[in-house]
């Protein structure tokens, strides 16, 4: 694994990010506007009912943005190469697939960390909500689990994009929404119907959001929830890497890799 080549891809990601209105809008503007929307909704509900329940919304939103931004960055990162017809140039360099994926995963983690701090800090003066009261250790563990989950989904989607090309590119920004209600990001899992609760309990994110909601009243670290989420993440992440490798190999075997560039 070459750090230099990983830094090269991160450098390219940086150049694309600072020169693309699309990335700025999709990541930073979207997160900011979601904070405004959910922040005011939280303020309204807090005035009508138990404030802790209202804060479920803004807590869920801030934590969900970690997943959305990291997954979006990972999946769309490769699409930038496809759209620019630069994919072959990248993959005929000495870079390995694992170096490329590592770079995209790190890029997603950095961007989501930045967005997390930005929206969290903005929420304090704007909506009198300080997510840091959940505790630094809690937040660190939430972040790690949510980022690994986003890597799992991002890598799986990336595998589909390599295999089937731009005809499935909408999954890069659309598929993750499916997991938002299934992870019970804004409400307790008990609200979901029975079969959906079973699906929810198979997702690592559900344990993160449950633990975060509980931490609003009691910031003690829920090690059980973190451990289950982490164990599930490891399983899903490993499966997604296997899936990606299979799809990547198929893409080269069927000639789709070359066709991806038009």
């Amino acid at each position: 694994m070459s750090v230099r080549r990983i830094v090269a891809i991160l450098q390219e990601e940086w150049y694309i990010t600072i020169s693309s209105l699309e990335v700025i809008l999709d990541i930073f503007y979207y997160s900011f506007m979601a904070l405004i929307l959910y922040g005011f909704t939280t303020l309204f509900i807090a005035g009508k009912t138990n404030a802790v329940f209202a804060y479920y919304l803004i807590t869920g939103l801030i934590l969900w943005e970690i997943v959305r931004v990291a997954q979006y960055t990972l999946s769309v990162g490769a699409l930038w190469e496809v759209w620019a017809r630069n994919l072959t140039n990248i993959f005929i360099s000495p870079i390995t697939v694992s170096e490329y994926l590592t770079a995209q995963m790190l890029s997603g983690a950095f961007k989501s960390l930045f967005v997390f701090f930005a929206v969290s800090l903005l929420a304090i003066p704007l909506f009198h909500f300080n997510i840091f009261t959940l505790g630094l250790l809690n937040l660190t563990l939430f972040f790690i689990n949510l980022v690994i989950f986003s890597w799992f989904t991002g890598i799986a989607i990336l595998g589909l994009i390599f295999r089937f090309g731009t005809r499935v590119q909408a999954l890069a920004w659309g598929l993750i929404i499916l997991f938002q209600p299934l992870s019970a990001s804004f409400f307790p899992v008990s609200v979901l119907p029975g079969p959906l609760q079973k699906i929810a309990h198979s997702l690592p994110t559900t344990y993160v959001f449950e633990a975060a909601r509980n931490a609003l009243s009691n910031p003690a670290v829920d090690w059980k929830a973190h451990s289950i989420a982490f164990a599930l993440n490891i399983v899903y992440f490993s499966l997604s890497v296997l899936f990606f490798n299979y799809m990547f190999a198929k893409s080269k075997e069927t000639g789709q890799f070359v066709k991806n560039e038009g």
């Binding site: 230099r4 080549r5 830094v7 090269a8 891809i9 450098q11 390219e12 150049y15 694309i16 020169s19 693309s20 930038w80 190469e81 620019a84 017809r85 630069n86 072959t88 140039n89 990248i90 993959f91 005929i92 360099s93 000495p94 870079i95 390995t96 190999a249 080269k252 075997e253 069927t254 000639g255 890799f257 070359v258 560039e261 038009g262």
Partner: protein, 307 residues
């Protein structure tokens, strides 16, 4: 000759369709090898197998004696590729794009190397220009700079002059020739422009239907077309000339009232002139068109169409 790329029994099947069928050839040090053939001949699939972006069904690719499948990382640092169909990141500047590739190829003193190459391609002033603002010719030159960043020993060029105007094409061909003569770089070159292939390639591998159907020097390939074409301008009655040529069973076509095009084997050219002169036909102009690489290409392409 020092073989630095050896392709043996390369085959690629997409389901039941065989795109490349048992192809073998060698590229020697300091040589420019043309890979030619009509559309669908299997050239692009071959190039992509050589780059590792398409997997082989069977066969072997050895760069510097090392197997591409097992020692990809080492090999990729020593070769590079440029194509008219691949571009760099459009919204990123030329310098930024090249800095990324310098890191990927572990280039020593990258900025100096980039500036040196940009200057040699006469595009130093474009360093801070976004790639998508460049003209087709400028993009091609930036792609070639990317291709040369790692001082490759082998370069694969896929139709590099496509969409370039003749002046820029000519400069590019001179540069390619200079690379070969000064740096002993070996080049695998695909193009549809037969005149440029004749000009710069030492040898040509001609592919059709996924197979190598001929491998020779450009001159050697043209010699395989035995027919030559003579265009004769005459001062006589058209019917009279037609009667003489038909009587001698020469394949001909009138291009006007006083011009006839005769297709014969090269060695029969004097006989055609002789038979017309003997019949008191005054020939005011004689133009002999010997077969070119393009004729060989057309010969293969037309044969394919008939099948």
């Amino acid at each position: 000759m020092n073989t630095i790329l050896s392709v043996s029994n390369l085959t690629k099947k997409f389901g039941t369709f065989t795109a490349v069928d048992d192809v073998s050839f060698q590229l020697n040090k300091g040589e420019i090898l043309g890979l030619l053939g009509p559309n669908g001949a299997g050239k692009t699939t071959t190039i992509h197998m050589l780059l590792g972006t398409t997997t082989l069904t069977s066969g072997e690719i050895l760069y510097f004696g090392k197997n591409l499948m097992t020692r990809r990382g080492e090999i990729m640092g020593e070769i590079n590729f440029a194509s008219a169909f691949n571009t760099l990141q459009g919204r990123v500047t030329v310098k930024e794009n090249l800095l990324v590739y310098s890191k990927l190829y572990d280039v020593n003193k990258p900025l100096a190397r980039i500036r040196d190459l940009l200057s040699s391609f006469e595009i130093a002033h474009l360093e801070n220009e976004r790639y998508w603002n460049l003209s087709a010719g400028q993009r091609t030159r930036v792609n070639l700079v990317k291709c040369l960043l790692n001082s490759p020993k082998i370069i694969l060029l896929d139709e590099p002059t496509a969409s370039l105007d003749p002046d820029i094409s000519d400069k590019l061909l001179n540069l390619i020739d200079k690379l070969r003569s000064e740096q002993k770089v070996s080049i695998l070159y695909t193009s549809h422009d037969m005149s440029e292939v004749s000009r710069i390639c030492d040898r040509v591998v001609f592919m059709d239907h996924g197979k190598v159907i001929a491998e020779d020097t450009p001159l050697g390939l043209t010699k395989r077309i035995q027919n030559a074409n003579i265009r004769l301008t005459f001062d006589a009655k058209k019917e009279h000339v037609g009667k003489i040529l038909a009587g001698s069973r020469y394949k001909h076509e009138f291009l006007g009232n006083n011009i006839v095009s005769v297709t014969v084997k090269e060695k029969q050219i004097p006989a055609v002139i002789f038979v017309l002169s003997n019949a008191d036909v005054w020939l005011t102009d004689i133009e002999v068109k010997k077969p070119t690489l393009e004729d060989f290409f057309l010969h293969i392409a037309r044969k394919k169409k008939k099948q």
